[in-house]
C-alpha cells in the first residue's frame, strides 16, 4: 500500500494537469523517492490513482532509465560515462568504483548498500568526472573524494 502522504502528494500532482495521467512520471519519481523502487504493486496503485492501467504504467516505467522496476541498494550511484567525462577521468572513476564496490554495471553490493549504475551525460561536463549519489550531483571527483562520499553514505 502506498503511504497516505504519498497518495495525497500524487493526487495534488494530478491537479496540475487537465488529465490526471500527465502526473505519471512525477508521481512515479515521488513513489520511487519514498519506496526506493517501483514494484508491480506500486505501479498498479499509481495506475489506479491516475485512472490508467498497470500496463500503461509499465510501458513508461520500463522506458526511463531513472525509474527502477527492480530493487536497488540503499544508495544509488550514477556515474556519467559520456564523452567529456570519459575523456576527463570518468573511465578511471568507473573502474575505481567497480573494484571498490565489487560489482559491475547495475549491480548491488552484497550488503545492499550501493547500486552502481552508469548514466549518460549529466549536464556537468565542465566539472568532469561527475556522479550522482542518490540523485545529488558530485563534481570534479578525485578517487579520494569518492571514497569519502561512500564512507559517509551508510
Amino acid at each position: 500500500m502506498l503511504p497516505e502522504t504519498l497518495k495525497s502528494e500524487i493526487v495534488e500532482l494530478t491537479s496540475h494537469y487537465p488529465h490526471a495521467r500527465a502526473a505519471l512520471v512525477p508521481a512515479l519519481r515521488a513513489a520511487q523517492r519514498d519506496l526506493g523502487w517501483l514494484g508491480k504493486e506500486t505501479q498498479t496503485e499509481v495506475a489506479s490513482l491516475l485512472g490508467i492501467t498497470a500496463l500503461e504504467v509499465h510501458e513508461v516505467v520500463s522506458f526511463y532509465p531513472m525509474l527502477y522496476d527492480k530493487p536497488v541498494g540503499r544508495h544509488v550511484i550514477h556515474v556519467c560515462r559520456t564523452l567529456s567525462c570519459d575523456a576527463c577521468g570518468g573511465k578511471e572513476l568507473w573502474k575505481h568504483l567497480e573494484s571498490k564496490l565489487g560489482v559491475t554495471r547495475g549491480g548491488t553490493t552484497a550488503d545492499g548498500r550501493f547500486t552502481l549504475m552508469s548514466a549518460e551525460c549529466l549536464a556537468s561536463c565542465g566539472t568532469a568526472p561527475v556522479l550522482l549519489l542518490d540523485n545529488e550531483r558530485h563534481e570534479n571527483l578525485s578517487h579520494a573524494q569518492v571514497d569519502k562520499l561512500l564512507e559517509a553514505a551508510r
Binding site: 498498479t44 500496463l55 509499465h58 510501458e59 522506458f63
Partner: protein, 491 residues
C-alpha cells in the same frame, strides 16, 4: 480535387488523401509494415518512404503525408530504392531468419519485400540480439520477440479497433519488446486478428502452428458460415482437410477482421462420417429411385412442409422453392440462434443466409405447430422436436445423417457450407459469393441439383439457375451479382 504526380503519372484525389492511398488508387504499391488500412498510421517502420520533389536527403513517409496540389512524388527514385533497401537490412539484422520453420513463410511481407526490394546479401556479421521466444500471449496466440519488427500493429489493433489495452511496448531502443506487461493472457474474443495483421511470424496461431506450409495448401475466397454477418474469409485446406479460416478484407462487411469463434469454426466442416449417396428406409439406393420415392411420399403436397436450413445458398433455396411451390408444399425456414451476439461483428443469428430465405418467401416455423403429415428437411438444421411429432414421413437432405437420418424415410446427401458454390445474403442485405474450399467427394452432388431433378430438370448448370434468378424481378436473386469485393492481398 487535388492533382499530383506519382512517378510522373498524374492522379486526382480528394483533399485529405494520403500519398500511399493515392498511389494505391493508380496501382502503385508502396511497401509498408506499420500502416494498415483498418488501424491507421503510426509512422514507425519507415518502409513507405518516398521522395517528394528534389529532396533526396529528407524522404517522407507516404502513409502520413497528405497529397497536395502539384506534389511530385517518386516511389522508385534511386534515393527511395536505397532507403528501402536500408530499412529492410535494418529489419533483418536482428531477425532470426528462421523462415525454414516459420509459419509465416510464404505469406510474409518481410520475405516478400526483401525478395522484391531488399539487399541480396548481408553485411551484418555481429551477434544478433536475443529476445524472448515462444511467449504464450494466450491459448491461441504465440509470440516470438526476435521475429518481431515492432510495427505495433498488434498493440494498435486492440487500441483502435477493440478500445482496450491488453498489449503494450516495454523498454526502449533496441531492447523494445511487445509485452502483456502485468496483464494476464489475452482474453479478447477477436484476439486472433493480430496474427493476421502481424507482418512477420512474430504472432502465430497456436491452432495452426506447424500444421502445414502455406504453399502446399489450397485456398478459397469465401464467406464465414458462422453467423449472418457473413465475414469474408479465405479458407485454407490441405489434402481435403480445412486447416484454417482467415479474414479477407471487405470494408463494407468485416473490414479486415473476424471473430475467433468464427475463425475456429472451420473444424466442424472436416467431417469424419457423412452421407454419401441416397438411402431409402436406411438402405442405399439410386438417387433417381430416392427422388421418385420423395415424390411419391409428397403426393399432392397437402400437409407437407419443407424445413430449409438458412445455411442453404440462395440458389439452393430457389431450386427448392421452385420444386416445392410447384408441389404445393409449405416453405419454412429455421435458423439456430446458437450463440449470443456481441457489440462488434458477431450476430445472434448463427446462420449465414436467413435474409436469403426470407427474401425468397420462406417463412419461420410458426409458434402453433401446423398439422403436418410429412416434413422435408433441407440442409443442416436443428429441427424443432415439436415439428417431428406425428409425422408419416421425414425426408432428410444433409451432409450428416444423425438421429434424424436414421429415422428418415428418404435420406439424401448434402454439402457443407465449405463445399458449396453460390450466394448468401447477410444481415445487412449484401449478396456475397461463396466458393468451395473442399471437394465433397463421390456421392454428394450439388444440393440444388436434387431439387432441380425433383422438379423435372431445367438449368443444366448453376449459371443457368443464376441467370434465371437474375431475371426474376423481386426475388432476392436479383442481387446475386453484387458479390463482395474480389480477393485482395491478405489484410
Amino acid at each position: 480535387m487535388i492533382t499530383l504526380s506519382i512517378n510522373g503519372r498524374k492522379v486526382e484525389v480528394q483533399p485529405g488523401t494520403t500519398v500511399i492511398e493515392a498511389a494505391s488508387a493508380i496501382g502503385i504499391e508502396i511497401p509498408h509494415y506499420c500502416y494498415h488500412k483498418d488501424i491507421g498510421v503510426d509512422g514507425n517502420c519507415r518502409m513507405c518512404l518516398v521522395q517528394v520533389g528534389a529532396n533526396t536527403r529528407k524522404l517522407q513517409i507516404s502513409c502520413m503525408i497528405p497529397c497536395s496540389e502539384g506534389m511530385d512524388v517518386q516511389t522508385e527514385s534511386p534515393a527511395v530504392i536505397k532507403a528501402r533497401k536500408g530499412v529492410l537490412e535494418f529489419l533483418l539484422i536482428n531477425h532470426p531468419l528462421d523462415c525454414t520453420i516459420c509459419d509465416q513463410a510464404g505469406e510474409c511481407p518481410l520475405q516478400d519485400y526483401t525478395y522484391r526490394f531488399g539487399p541480396g546479401d548481408s553485411r551484418f556479421t555481429e551477434h544478433k540480439q536475443n529476445k524472448p521466444k515462444t511467449v504464450e500471449f494466450s491459448d491461441q496466440v504465440m509470440f516470438d520477440g526476435e521475429r518481431c519488427i515492432l510495427c505495433t500493429r498488434c498493440v494498435r489493433f486492440f487500441e483502435t479497433v477493440r478500445h482496450e489495452k491488453p498489449l503494450g511496448v516495454e523498454n526502449m531502443g533496441g531492447k523494445s519488446l511487445i509485452t502483456l506487461g502485468p496483464n494476464g493472457p489475452l482474453t479478447d474474443p477477436y484476439q486472433m486478428n493480430i496474427i493476421d495483421i502481424c507482418p512477420v511470424g512474430a504472432l502465430t496461431s497456436r491452432d495452426f502452428r506447424f500444421k502445414q506450409r502455406v504453399w502446399f495448401m489450397d485456398f478459397a475466397d469465401t464467406v464465414c458460415p458462422g453467423c449472418s454477418r457473413g465475414c469474408n474469409i479465405t479458407a485454407g485446406a490441405y489434402q481435403g482437410k480445412l486447416l484454417r479460416f482467415v479474414p479477407r478484407r471487405n470494408p463494407e462487411v468485416n473490414k479486415s477482421w473476424m471473430c475467433d469463434d468464427g475463425r475456429l469454426s472451420y473444424k466442424q466442416y472436416n467431417l469424419d462420417e457423412r452421407v454419401r449417396g441416397a438411402h431409402i428406409a436406411g438402405e442405399p439406393a439410386e438417387t433417381g429411385a430416392a427422388l421418385a420415392r420423395v415424390s411419391e411420399l409428397v403426393g399432392d403436397g397437402n400437409g407437407v412442409a419443407v424445413l430449409a436450413s438458412t445455411k442453404n445458398t440462395c440458389e439452393e433455396l430457389y431450386a427448392l422453392k421452385a420444386w416445392a411451390g410447384h408441389a404445393g408444399i409449405a416453405l419454412l425456414w429455421h435458423g439456430a440462434a446458437s450463440w449470443a451476439g456481441d457489440d462488434f461483428l458477431k450476430l445472434p443469428d448463427a446462420t449465414p443466409n436467413t435474409a436469403g430465405a426470407q427474401g425468397l418467401g420462406f417463412v419461420p416455423v410458426p409458434g402453433n405447430r401446423p398439422r403436418l403429415r410429412g416434413l422435408i428437411v433441407a440442409g443442416d438444421v436443428a429441427v424443432p422436436p415439436a415439428l417431428l411429432a406425428d409425422l408419416d414421413f421425414v425426408v432428410l437432405q444433409a451432409p450428416v445423417a444423425g438421429m434424424l437420418g436414421a429415422a428418415a424415410s428418404v435420406l439424401l446427401p448434402g454439402r457443407t457450407a465449405l463445399e458449396k458454390k453460390g450466394t448468401w445474403i447477410n444481415a445487412q442485405g449484401l449478396v456475397q459469393r461463396i466458393r468451395p474450399a473442399l471437394d465433397a467427394g463421390p456421392g454428394v452432388p450439388e444440393d440444388w441439383t436434387l431439387w432441380r431433378d425433383l422438379h423435372g430438370g431445367h438449368w443444366p448448370t448453376l449459371q443457368h439457375l443464376q441467370s434465371e434468378m437474375a431475371r426474376v424481378a423481386g426475388a432476392s436473386g436479383g442481387k446475386v451479382e453484387q458479390a463482395a469485393q474480389p480477393a485482395g492481398s491478405r489484410p
